[in-house]
């Protein structure tokens, strides 16, 4: 295989010789070869070029985990562009924000998401052209027709490794999502580091039932293509029995999950025993895996190495624990991924001794370039490093390191809530609550939950005379927020606790909830 400098070099490499006939992706049971993937992606790439996409331009992909989504990712790269994948649960307002913020040149989407994308485009002064998969839509070109009628690219588009490959939008404590800029070289590096420590090979069959909009899901695809392995792509974990059946059918060897998925899997195992002897690697990230889960997961995955990992979109992945150490180092998320370095600093920038809490810093080629359009937020996260001009990632997360250098998560320094493995900004939810007629004030916190990790609870104060019910408040949220962001609990109260400066105190809400 030739050198992988660009993210899509992996696809070109996988298609060499016999490789083109190998199964690249099994999407909801349908096998698609590497040759088919390259052909479709190359045709769509030339169609994107014809619609104005040039080197460095952004292409928005607002799609479910489908074959068109996989094609769209590689087509954007082949066209010289940078892709951004928007979670299909995203509602119109936020989609419009992301389209506008990224300056997306084209929107690739699914017809069944028309309710939301139409409303988003209506809000925009200069909406991008739309290509939609599925049934014909009057405002969109048909994805299948566009791919079928375009000729494959006739020459490689010149792109170099420091060019932008993707914007990965992530929730921020300020409320609006921000686009993490990742270059080809950073993503190629991260992919290589991951496949190395996960000990993956061309024979693996990697499950992806996590959204491709989530970098953890996306990298299952990128790793699989890099190896010339096979990705088993499922829409979601909504119907676990279907995912389990597909895993058995296709002989899945790698199972990536988040704690909520493992909680559901273990609950199902408690009702009807499950066993997946073909699975040899199980990975967890996004939130801590409770120690007893690891023990019980061995019943379900008797032949698997279990990896506990830690990461954030800003550098893809920070650390992993060698699976052989899972009993020796309970609670630890291990050490830096290969080719990178981590260290803890005090708030004033000094090294922190073993056993004491410090702020996690990450150094390596996988660190983001910054946030798209947000130099102010970039400066909070990227700090000058050891070498002149170098920037290291200051994660703002609190960790402890033991004498042997193993990392233990202590807490976050912001108010971000982690529910079902997703990051939720309380401010984003509060903004939606505040916009509801009848709401005077609202504050949102995360409360512990066995399955969700944290559940979202909103404390709401109504304006005098307003008669909003809890259900009406949740309905108002569901229209504008992704499902996982809609508060599970709405607590109506007469006032909210405040700090000395008059700001609503989330800390006080957690310690002394109002009745």
């Amino acid at each position: 295989m030739p050198a992988q400098r660009l993210l899509h070099d992996s696809l070109l490499g996988a298609c060499e010789g016999e490789g083109a006939t190998k199964t690249a992706v099994i999407v909801e049971g349908h096998a698609r070869s590497y040759g088919e993937l390259l052909d479709a992606a190359s045709r769509l790439a030339s169609a994107l070029r014809a619609r104005g996409v040039q080197r460095g331009d952004r292409v928005a992909i607002y799609m479910d985990n489908t074959w068109p989504c996989v094609v769209a990712i590689f087509a954007t790269l082949l066209a010289g562009g940078a892709f951004l994948i928007v979670n299909p649960q995203t509602k119109a307002d936020k989609l419009a924000f992301i389209l506008d913020d990224s300056g997306a040149r084209v929107l690739l989407t699914d017809a069944h998401l028309a309710r939301e994308y139409r409303a988003a485009l209506d809000d925009m002064s200069d909406p991008p052209p739309v290509v939609a998969s599925g049934v014909a839509m009057p405002e969109a070109e048909s994805f299948d027709d566009v791919v079928a009628s375009a000729a494959p690219l006739d020459a490689r588009v010149p792109v170099i490794p420091p060019d932008l490959a993707a914007l990965i939008y992530t929730s921020g404590s300020t409320g609006n999502p921000k686009g993490v800029m990742q270059t080809h070289q950073a993503m190629v590096f991260a992919c290589g580091s991951l496949v190395e420590y996960l000990r993956l090979g061309a024979g693996d069959r990697i499950l992806c039932a996590l959204p491709l909009a989530f970098d953890y899901g996306l990298y299952q695809l990128l790793m699989s293509v890099r190896l010339g392995a096979t990705l088993v792509l499922e829409r979601s974990f909504t119907f676990p029995a279907q995912v389990f059946a597909r895993m058995r059918e296709t002989g899945v060897t790698v199972f990536p999950g988040v704690p909520t998925v493992f909680a559901m899997l273990l609950a199902a195992h408690g009702r009807e025993a499950l066993s997946f002897p073909d699975v040899t690697r199980v990975t967890n990230t996004a939130a801590a895996l409770p120690d007893d889960f690891a023990v019980r997961l061995r019943e379900v995955f008797p032949n698997a190495l279990i990896y506990k990992m830690y990461g954030l979109t800003e550098c893809k992945r920070v650390s992993y624990l060698e699976p052989e150490l899972i009993d020796a180092k309970p609670g630890s998320v291990g050490k830096a991924i290969p080719g990178t370095e981590i260290y803890l600093l005090s708030p004033d920038g000094h090294a922190v001794p073993a056993g004491e809490v410090g702020i996690l810093h990450v150094r390596g080629p996988h660190v983001m370039l910054g946030y798209w359009n947000r130099p102010d937020l970039t400066d909070l996260m990227l700090k000058p490093g050891k070498l002149p001009g170098e920037r290291v990632l200051c994660t703002q997360d609190h960790f402890r390191m033991d004498e042997e250098g193993f990392l233990y998560f202590v807490g976050r320094t912001d108010d971000i809530i982690k529910t079902r493995g997703e990051k939720v900004s309380p401010v984003e939810v509060e903004n939606v609550l505040h916009a509801l007629p009848g709401v005077r004030e609202a504050a949102v916190v995360g409360v512990p939950d066995d399955v969700l990790g944290q559940a979202i609870r909103a404390y709401v104060v109504l304006t005098p005379g307003a008669t909003l019910s809890e259900r009406e408040i949740r309905a108002g949220c569901a229209v504008r927020l992704e499902n996982f962001m809609v508060p599970r609990d709405i607590v109506l109260c007469s006032d909210l606790p405040r700090t000395a400066t008059g700001k609503v105190s989330r800390k006080a809400l957690l310690e002394n909830p109002p009745a």
Binding site: F239, A268, E272, R471
Partner: protein, 88 residues
Amino acid sequence: MQNDIAGIRERIRAYILENLLFTTDASQLDDDASLLERGIIDSTGVLEIVMFLEEQFGIKVRDSDMLPENFDKVDSIARFVARSMVSA
């Protein structure tokens, strides 16, 4: 009455409207709309529906029954419940 499929369908629809769409406006949900594609259900949503069905209709839903063909539409859920009540 309980075995009447139209009656079953109405109760399921009302439950989904109220608990997953947080509304009583029936025009928000067609009986043959895909709950998944509309973004109405996710994994916890399916479990909520299952608990409701077990409680209200006295049926037992096995994990292996929790498939899109049984749970992706109001219509298919109603047919699944009717079948389960006959075989119970």
